[in-house]
Amino acid sequence: MTDTTPTLHGIARPSAQEAARHLARRKRRQRRLVAYGLAAIAFAFLMLAILVGSLVVSGAKAFVQTHVTLEVFVDPAEIRADRLPRGGFKDVLQAALQKQIPGIEDRKDAKRLLGILSNGAQFMLRDMVVADPSLIGETIKLTVPVSDPYDQLAKGEIDPETPEEFRRLKDDEIAWFRTLEEKGLVSMPFNWALFTNADSRFPELAGLKGALMGSFWALLVCFVISFPLGIGAAIYLEEFGRKNRVADIIEVNINNLAAVPSVVFGLLALAVFLGWFGLPRSAPLVGGMTLALMTLPTIIIATRAALKAVPPSIREAALGVGASNQQVVFHHVLPLAMPGILTGTIIGLAQALGETAPLLLIGMNAFITSAPASPMDAATALPTQIFIWADSPERGFVARTSAAILVLLGFLIAMNALAIFLRARFERKW
């Protein structure tokens, strides 16, 4: 490669060394660019791994719950069929515990002994007896959750080496629990209560059912409002509206609307939906309406993009055989745009599912111990439930907060996966 003939322009060609240097530099630059890209992706994955990893580590323990199994004699002297649902359920449980751990005579100690069981235990027993009064006088096997400090002890979160006065459980309490463990009465099954219970002040009883139902109703309302409105608006703007100055202004404002901080929508909802229209506070109906305001621009933008992506040849073909504008849109363009529209809608709903700030402003962060049966009932949503639990001082809520985040992330991943699936399955290549 010793070509010494000058170039077309009469300038001497670069020497072989110069050319090699030039080539090497170019290759180096490209390698560096690839390395930057890989580094960025690796960093993003690392952060994701740290996030999910830390959530799993701290949240895993919330998916199991320590239970204790007791033989309970439903004493007819304490519980009488004619006085149900009232009765000495606490005393019956206390007696059952005292049978397992003998030698506690002091009334104060006996009361502390009962503290092993969750506050909800007496109500579980009560519900069982009310449902089947023939249990009175019988001895039944009862498995109930233990209270939060003992749950933490069982999960190794309480260090017995800590001086007694800095511990939530005293030495004798730890000894009682160890006795129960030695007798094989303590078990740690899957924590179904996390999904079947609504919120509670007691971590061992607190569950996500209220939040899940609240989020479900809110998303349903959000979908019912924003899907038809968004598609309608997009069809008008894209297919029927004149392309003039007004259309430009509308377009700019829809894009702006998509970028408005969500807390502003919350304030708007507070002022308009609650203030003017007097809709109920904390209701998923209002939450859904607020989220619909936020989802609307996302759906409009996604729908317009999907409509635009339908090739003009299809429109011409339909117009050419004498279809009206409306027939062109509804027979041809809209069906072809549907996969794109659905993908955009699901991504919009996934955003709405994770939205917290506007729900805080309309009171969906209230403490509500029953799941909503309709969109008009007060409820929380998944993100606001996380907010409430993250704010709670009990040790058990730390793990539950992480568990709730994992549940929320699970739903988000499922929704986004569905969107990707729909796109891959139905998207048309032109």
């Binding site: 117009l319 055989v321 004498g322």
Partner: protein, 271 residues
């Protein structure tokens, strides 16, 4: 009408007019795209049961003029059409005329085959369905079969009418589009470079088909290929820079053009 313009005088066939063979009569048509004057004062007679070819260099306005004939330019916001176009003596730009009804009478086939992403059957049945041309399923079946036969496609697709039209080869797709256009029983068939996206064999099939269609329809074809115009058409119009330069019998245009610009174009000096 400008009698001093020789092209205008040529484009109007007075004997044909007298015999009532004129299907479409265009007088003084101008088209603007925004500020661009795309078609300048074009007057043309399109005869019934005749293939008329529009030729000319790219951007000369031949497609634009074709799209005036079924008001497809209406779908472009900035396009403005003036002048007079009569189909069987009836002004198609009159206020009472519905472009949707007009397009059933003046069918169109486009440059790129554009079947709907539906079955072959539904592609052809779509026009008759939206215009309510078939009262029964049997009627519709007959329209579909007849249209596909006329488009010389029936034998190739009769066993797979329920398969998507997009799965056919390019030439078959274009014949499907022709079948779709003739399913509404149009009187005029407009073709905008119908063979430009096809291979030579498919092109030959389409050209043969056009010749057969002439028995029932008035066909207007825009083409880039002068050979094609010479092969399929009886009358040829040469457009240049938005003007109709020359219009006449095809053999005359190709062997004895009167305008020097036509001669330059067909001998390959402009284009």
């Amino acid at each position: 009408m400008d009698a001093s313009n020789p092209a205008t005088a040529l484009a109007i066939d007075e004997t044909a007019e007298a015999e009532g063979r004129v299907k479409i009569m265009a007088r003084g048509v101008n088209v603007w795209y925004g500020d661009t004057h795309a078609i300048k004062d074009v007057s043309v007679d399109i005869l019934d049961r005749t293939v008329t070819a529009f030729i000319g260099p790219s951007g000369c306005g031949k497609s634009t003029f074709l799209r005036c004939l079924n008001r497809m330019n209406d779908t472009i916001d900035v396009a403005r059409v003036t002048g007079e176009i009569r189909l069987d003596g009836e002004d198609i730009y009159a206020p009472g005329v519905d472009p949707v009804q007009l397009r059933a009478r003046v069918g169109m086939v486009f440059q790129k085959p554009n079947p709907f992403p539906k079955s072959i059957y539904d592609n052809v049945a779509y026009g008759p369905r939206i215009h309510g041309l078939a009262r029964t399923r049997a009627d519709l079946d007959r329209i579909v079969e007849d249209s596909l036969r006329r488009a010389a496609l029936w034998d190739e697709v009769k066993d797979r009418l329920n398969e998507p039209g997009t799965g056919l080869s390019g030439g078959q797709q274009q014949r499907l589009c022709i079948a779709r256009a003739i399913a509404t029983s149009p009187e005029v068939l407009l073709m905008d470079e119908p063979a430009s996206a096809l291979d030579p064999i498919a092109t030959a099939q389409i050209e043969e088909l056009i010749d057969e269609l002439r028995e029932n329809f008035s066909v207007v074809i825009v083409t880039h290929s002068m050979q094609q115009a010479a092969r399929v058409s009886q009358r040829t119009a040469f457009f240049h820079l938005g003007e109709l330069v020359e219009f006449g019998e095809t053999p005359q245009i190709f062997t004895n053009p009167r305008d020097p610009r036509t001669e330059s174009y067909i001998t390959g000096r402009i284009g």
